[in-house]
């Protein structure tokens, strides 16, 4: 397999990201174009940007790998990643936008009027962000290793430095357009090779893909429990992902935030049709990946295997470019979000220099983590970030938006017990202290089933026990969350 094309494709994606992000699309306009310049980001554009940022290494490489090894049970992953937006749409999107919050700590402070809760949420956001960044970097390392034979750490370091460069140089000036571009690039990079692969498969006489029962058994020894853990984590965790939350701020109002979410559902729904195709075809054409080997590499290897020749090389290069787009967009979005929280709530004073320092801090910790920790399948480690988010931010957002009697002590208790226990379980699992088989491992590896109820219960019970601490501005905040903007401001336009 010729590596030149793939390396060139990766180089182009990296360069484009640095240039566009660093220098910005400098489009100047005269006042006659004012309406074009001052138009807020339309829901569909914003949705493409959210999808571009959201579709990470786990979606691009991980799902195909899991389907390849473990069979159709793994389809719960794409379903969960998509359905999270449904929950977001129904319960959170519009009120969150109307709250005016830019980050989750902003929301906590605005709703509960407490600096302590704000600080705690900041710590958890940074933690969840770091947890999500590790698999992105590891995925980059894996991709580069397969494409060029470079040592595994090189890709991690490359993506980390590109993100730092792009963010520190220009703060990602035209971030929306970069992310929109990344979404379409990722979709194309999976769709075009997929079409050729399916054609080749038909030309091959349409061999049946079989998932033997003994091979396709769920990895866990308690498959039903693990599936529920996955479902709870992904359905409820999406709303708390720091890089998703900040993008809703771009919507001009609550209604547009809802429309954006609907469009996101459509966009990522289409995208998630593709990885299972790769998984199934990988079963046929790259069966050695099932036993040992990096199953996450299936997407990258297939075009070369099935089609071969120049065509295969070019398609392989396209996939590699798309994969790097996935790492870069998610990693930079997360790094920006985490760095924003670090500058606001951790570092003492503000300013551009601090933001750069925070960027370095935001990515160097997960970089160290990705180099130290053994490789967990990317979809799994992303699932853990979802579990932490689901057990801490989901109760905070849902109760904060829908329940008047939430108090700061209640929120603190819920965040510490729910988010803290999920974080701890994940840490124990990653460290390998508790190994499968057995219930202890299952409970710790898929904590969402119990940690989400723990978070909710702690928040509700402690809030009920401290009724005197209900923030005085609760009614005003609720009114702002739930009434359309035009009503609360009395503006007629």
């Amino acid at each position: 397999m010729s590596r030149t094309y793939a390396v060139a494709a990766v180089a182009v994606v990296v360069l484009a990201t640095v240039l566009v992000g660093g220098f910005g699309l400098r489009i100047s306009r005269t006042t006659s174009d004012f309406y074009v310049a001052s138009r807020t980001v339309r829901p569909r554009l914003n949705a493409a940007a959210i999808s571009g940022e959201y579709l990470s290494a786990a979606s691009f490489l991980g799902i195909a790998g899991l389907v390849l090894v473990h069979g159709p049970d793994m389809l719960w992953y794409p379903v969960g990643y998509t359905a999270g937006y449904l929950v977001l749409l129904v319960f959170v999107a519009a009120p969150l936008r109307r709250s005016g919050a830019y980050t989750l700590p902003d929301f906590a402070e605005g709703r509960l009027e407490s600096r302590q809760v704000r600080r705690l949420v900041s710590v958890l956001v940074v933690g969840a962000g770091w947890l999500y960044l590790v698999p992105q970097l590891q995925g980059a390392g894996l991709t580069l290793k397969i494409l060029t034979g470079a040592p595994g750490w090189l890709g991690d370091v490359l993506v980390a430095s590109v993100v730092v460069l792009a963010v520190a140089a220009g703060g990602m000036r035209s971030i929306t357009f970069v992310q929109v571009f990344q979404y379409w690039l990722k979709l194309t990079a999976l769709l075009v090779p997929a079409i050729f692969l399916v054609l080749a498969w038909r030309g091959d006489g349409q061999p049946r893909v079989t998932f033997d029962a003994h091979l396709s058994a769920f990895r866990a020894d308690h498959p039903l429990y693990a599936t529920y853990g996955l479902i709870v984590a992904t359905f409820l965790g999406t709303m708390g992902l720091p890089h998703v939350v900040v993008r809703f701020y771009t919507s001009p109002n609550g209604r547009d935030a809802r429309r954006t979410t609907v469009a996101v559902l459509a966009l990522i729904g289409v995208f998630y049709l593709l990885p299972p195709v790769y998984g199934a075809l990988g079963r046929l054409y790259a069966p050695e990946l099932i036993h040992g080997g990096d199953a996450d590499a299936a997407v990258l290897l297939l075009p070369g295997r099935v089609i071969g020749g120049l065509g295969g090389d070019l398609l392989g290069a396209l996939v590699a470019g798309g994969a790097f787009a996935a790492f870069l967009s998610t990693a930079s979005g997360l790094t920006m979000a985490v760095a924003g929280v670090i500058t606001q709530d951790v570092l003492p004073s503000r300013g551009v220099r601090h933001f750069r320092l925070a960027t370095v801090l935001a990515i160097s910790v997960p970089l160290a983590g990705s180099l130290m920790v053994s490789r967990v399948p990317v979809a799994d480690s992303v699932g853990m970030a979802f579990a932490v988010s689901a057990s801490s931010f989901c109760p905070l957002l849902v109760l904060g938006i829908w329940w008047r009697r939430l108090t700061p002590p209640g929120a603190v208790a819920g965040l510490l017990l729910g988010g803290g226990s999920a974080l701890l379980s994940v840490a124990i699992t990653v460290s390998g202290a508790v190994r499968p088989p057995g219930w202890p491992h299952a409970l710790l590896a898929w904590p969402a089933v119990w940690s989400v109820p723990v978070g909710f219960l702690a928040m509700i019970l402690v809030s009920l026990a401290t009724p005197r601490r209900i923030p005085p501005g609760t009614n005003a905040a609720m009114t702002r969350f739930h009434l359309p903007e035009a009503l609360t401001t009395g503006r007629q336009r």
């Binding site: 980001v41 005016g100 710590v123 000036r173 503000r350 974080l423 701890l424 840490a427 503006r491």
Partner: protein, 396 residues
């Protein structure tokens, strides 16, 4: 591998611990250490501490809510069995036992409200077992106006209590005066905003109408357009609700303003606009960019300059938006600008800048004042940083 794993556990555990520590330090009350000095000093500390706890609620003025929240502290400061706070119309709060006295209090303190002098009286209770036999009522005065009274009850006459009640009342008065001061400062700022809104009008309205008039015969369509722009612009500028707006609305109003200005100056003024769509929903104080643009137009076209270029850009900078307004006009001596921003400018020049600077600092804190780069003949570049979120700032 497992070694590395353990290291991760340790790091995460440290993170969790650090978070808990931070939280604990914020929420915990300082422990009473044994080293508090002599009993007298200890008592002094206690008193000062109680007084400092009672102060914040009172800073909101004398209302039912503030009275309720401070009464317990005030009573423990005086060490009486019961304490009552009234305003001119009725009892605000009764703290302690025997609140059946509350019914008669207003009759008994009527004299105090009238004269503004301390009065001691027997409480004349029907209940013989009632321990509250005697009371002292002290007026709460601010600017020679009696706002209410503080009534302290005791089982028997006590000169000490009478004096203590007087002192506590005076202390409460000081807090109430501060509250009054706060209120008048807010009123002053509101008045300033109103003045700023009014300040836009005379010259600008006159000039715009004159410019529109010049089009009425030659280009009626254009004149109509401009009149509509004018109507929209004034409606926005004179709107009465809300102190905050969104960057999108503010920029829209600036666009209308510029259309009217260009009707007057034509080709002499060219404007370039560069706006990151991500920052359009940012909330900001109402009319805090328009004066800056007006300033740029004024400077750009001042003197013998034949043509001027103004650049307005709004960039996304993480958790902040950065708005830059730049002109290539005559500029200004930095020393003079410094005087203006200190409020020593005299005359009307730069009032707009000063006002905007003050309002930004008031809303976002001193880190967020205007940053102005200028020199004589070097144009002017004004940078405004706007946080994307600040508690209490909601664009409407």
């Amino acid at each position: 591998m497992t070694g590395a794993g353990y290291a991760v556990i340790v790091v995460l555990a440290l993170l969790l611990f650090g978070g808990g520590l931070l939280l604990g330090r914020r929420t915990a009350r300082p422990l009473r250490t044994s080293d508090v000095g002599t009993p007298v000093e200890h008592a002094t500390f206690e008193t000062l501490h109680t007084a400092s706890l009672a102060a914040p609620p009172l800073r909101a003025g004398l209302t039912g809510d503030s009275a309720r929240r401070s009464a317990r502290r005030l009573r423990s400061l005086l060490g009486t069995d019961a304490l009552c706070l009234t305003d001119r119309d009725g009892v605000l709060v009764w703290d302690g036992e025997g609140d059946h006295h509350g019914r008669h209090v207003m009759e008994q303190v009527a004299g105090v409200l009238e004269t503004g002098r301390d009065t001691a009286f027997r409480s004349d209770c029907d209940d013989l077992d009632c321990p509250l036999k005697w009371a002292v009522a002290v007026p709460l005065t601010v600017d020679h106006r009696v706002l209410g009274t503080l009534v302290a009850y005791a089982p028997r006459e006590s000169a000490v209590l009478a004096r203590a009640a007087g002192e506590v009342a005076r202390w409460v008065c000081v807090q109430l005066e501060l509250a009054e001061l706060d209120r008048s400062r807010t009123q002053l700022i509101e008045a300033e905003i109103r003045a700023l809104r009014a300040q836009i009008s005379p010259h600008f309205i006159f000039n715009s109408l004159a410019a529109i008039a010049s089009f009425v015969r030659t280009d009626p369509e254009q004149a109509r357009e401009l009149l509509l722009e004018f109507a929209d612009f004034t409606r926005y500028s004179f709107r009465s609700h809300g102190d905050f707006t969104t960057l999108a609305d503010e920029l829209h109003s600036i666009d209308q303003y510029l259309a009217l200005v260009r009707a007057r100056f034509g080709e002499r003024l060219s404007v370039t606009l560069q706006v990151a769509p991500e920052v359009l929903p940012v909330a900001l104080p109402f009319l805090c960019l328009q004066p800056l643009v007006e300033n740029a137009v004024k400077h750009g076209l001042e003197g013998a300059v034949t043509s001027s270029r103004i650049t307005i850009s709004a960039l996304d900078a993480g958790s902040e938006a950065e708005v830059v307004i730049e002109d290539d006009g005559t500029g200004m001596d930095p020393q003079r600008l410094r005087h203006i921003l200190r409020g020593e400018g005299g005359g009307s020049t730069g009032i707009g800048l000063l006002n905007v600077d003050e309002r930004l600092r008031q809303v976002y804190g001193d880190d967020y004042g205007l940053v102005i780069e200028t020199g004589i003949g070097a144009g002017m570049r004004i940078t405004v940083r706007l946080p994307k979120y600040r508690a209490g700032v909601h664009g409407s």
